[in-house]
């Protein structure tokens, strides 16, 4: 599939970046025998958009859906913050790249995450710190959609919206969770509206359209934003396993590792041919 046929929107540069990142992510998960690839592919575009053009030096990012660590590591790899050697150690012995993000070796990973419902409260605290210190910048936090079954997220949203801290919440809304769809498990089909009910502006966008994501992340905090920015929500509608036909919207790819044939097919579809 070439850039013109990609069909995902965005410029050619982003398409090249995405293909490169997808291939590296697939290879990393294949070589390490690690699952969770579906939820990594669903949010990879969001992470690439964030790390290539949205996040500035005064900003910080917390990956609350820590099971997408692979996508975060690959996004940092595309920036040169992690090396190929680092990625080869993913999920191995004596590695810095554990299956969920571990802190302490890169400022881009300020907190260990993996237990759901922690990232947004942490981001709210960092954003409050910026507000109290009158510092520029904004904290970005990516949650899953199923993660909104955790009560701590609602605690954090109440807190952050009330205090109008400079925080952008991104939701990777792929509609699938560990053992069913978010609608089947928790009736969360209206999550975007539920978030908006807290009085924060919600941009409901195609999470695989990089321009839409970029616009949503950069949008002014109208109509309810505070002078210092306030909370914004980017509700990114995505597909689990995006970019690999046999994974798309399939719950089992929350768990399964790739066998060799699957990996080769996935790599072909991701646009890189046999890897």
């Amino acid at each position: 599939m070439d850039e013109a046929e990609d069909g995902d929107g965005g410029g050619g540069a982003f398409c090249r970046l995405r293909r490169r990142a997808r291939l590296r992510l697939l290879r990393m998960h294949y070589e390490s025998g690690v699952g969770h690839i579906g939820g990594n592919l669903s949010c990879l575009d969001t992470l690439l958009v964030l790390h290539h053009g949205v996040l500035g030096p005064a900003d910080a990012f917390i990956l609350s859906k820590g099971h997408a660590a692979g996508a975060l590591y690959v996004a940092l790899w595309t920036l040169g913050r992690l090396t190929d050697e680092d990625l080869r150690a993913f999920h191995g012995e004596d590695t810095r790249l554990s299956g969920h993000p571990a802190p302490g070796f890169l400022p881009e990973i300020p907190f260990a995450t993996g237990s759901l419902g922690h990232g947004l409260p942490l981001a709210a605290g960092m954003a409050l710190g910026k507000q109290l210190r009158r510092e520029p910048g904004r904290i970005y936090c990516l949650t899953s959609d199923g993660e909104w079954q955790e009560g701590s997220n609602w605690e954090a949203l109440i807190f952050a919206a009330h205090r109008r801290v400079p925080l952008t919440l991104l939701v990777d809304a792929n509609g699938l969770q560990g053992f069913g769809t978010t609608e089947e498990v928790a009736g969360q089909g209206a999550l975007s509206d539920q978030l908006a009910a807290f009085g924060v502006p919600v941009a409901d966008v195609d999470g695989h359209d990089p321009e839409a994501l970029r616009r949503a992340c950069a949008a002014p905090p109208e109509p309810l934003g505070a002078p210092d920015g306030g909370v914004r929500v980017v509700f990114a509608r995505t597909r689990k396993g995006h970019g690999v036909s046999f994974m798309e919207d399939r719950m089992e790819w929350h768990y399964l590792p790739l066998n060799e044939a699957q990996y080769r097919q996935a790599a072909r579809e991701a646009g890189g041919g046999d890897a």
Binding site: P121, L122, G125, F159
Partner: protein, 314 residues
């Protein structure tokens, strides 16, 4: 102790612009002066303890020095995973200040008691627990904790400083009473009940053997923490008597016994009086619950006297 905490923190507010105070919607008629002193750095985080602890971790990550405050059980049990994952694993300088250690909330009921707080928290990495014995300890502890680079838990209670008596200057281990030998045990006590015990011992007949009484205010008990003078007292008495308003599991008694065994200094006798939960299934004041556990001051004084008599007769 809450008033002493407020006074200490008001002083800290003036001294440290990085100090931020979070409360889980508590502090009515107690923390208003601190709210005045801190302005926007006084944050009522609402009835949401999980979020409050994670927010504190986030604040600490930006270089601020947060304290998070609530009733002790709401502070350590509800947000335990946030304390573990967000604060302790990252070794962030967050102070968790819990009011009402042990049975201090009395007849308010079991949900408001903190009987396993420091034992549970001390399983976590990097955290130390501080259990002031007297209101007079709180000011020095505030300064000590404000300078710490690690997670800390401060367990507050109701001070029982004996009348007309001033505690010695704060230290993690302090001998409060020098015994007269005679077979009396060596007491190691955590928390404010030691004040009541001192009063009860002071009211005992002069002829009664007096135990050595130590207050232990910082946990865990690490190798090297135990003062030589305590070990000398223990060698002389041969009987370690630990009292604490905390469950046996993970408490001072177990920690101290572990360290003494490891050091080859195990005493011949060991008595541990600790919280037992709710043995009768009934509720009452802090004094009621202490009596049910053998932790009331008069009962402890009598037991110590009996132990001394028993030792003297052997």
């Amino acid at each position: 102790m809450r008033d002493a905490l407020c006074a200490g923190l008001v002083a800290l507010a003036a001294a440290d612009p990085a100090f931020v105070f979070l409360t889980g919607d508590l502090g009515y008629k107690a923390l208003e002066p601190l709210r005045e002193a801190l302005g926007e750095r006084f944050v009522n985080a609402g009835v949401a303890e999980q979020n409050m602890v994670s927010v504190a971790a986030g604040l600490a990550r930006t270089g601020l020095r947060p304290w998070a405050y609530s009733i002790a059980p709401f502070l350590y049990a509800r947000p335990y995973e946030q304390i573990r994952n967000d604060v302790c694993i990252h070794d962030l300088p967050v102070v968790l200040a819990g009011n009402g250690g042990g049975y201090a909330y009395g007849v308010m009921g079991s949900t408001h008691h903190a009987l396993e707080d420091y034992g549970a928290l001390l399983c976590l990495p990097n955290l130390r627990a501080h259990v002031p014995a007297f209101a007079e300890d709180v000011g020095p502890l505030v300064r000590r904790l404000a300078a710490s680079e690690h997670p800390a838990y401060l367990r507050l209670g109701r001070s029982e400083t004996p009348a007309n008596w001033a505690p010695p200057p704060y230290a993690p281990w302090r001998r409060l009473l020098r015994g007269g030998g005679g077979g009396a045990p060596t007491v190691a006590a955590a928390g404010p009940l030691v004040g009541g015990l001192l009063s009860a011992l002071g009211n005992a007949p002069d002829a009664s053997p007096r135990p050595d009484v130590w207050a232990v205010c910082e946990l865990p008990v690490e190798a090297g923490d135990i003062p030589d003078a305590f070990l000398e007292d223990l060698d002389a008495s041969g009987h370690l008597f630990v009292v604490e308003e905390h469950a046996a599991q993970g408490g001072l008694g177990q920690m101290l016994a572990h360290r003494l065994l490891a050091a080859g200094r195990a005493p011949a006798r060991f008595t541990h009086r600790h919280a037992l939960g709710y043995p009768s299934g009934r509720y009452g004041s802090q004094a009621f619950h202490r009596r049910e556990c053998g932790l009331d001051a008069a009962g402890l004084a009598a037991e110590l006297a009996a132990a001394a008599t028993s030792a003297a007769g052997t």
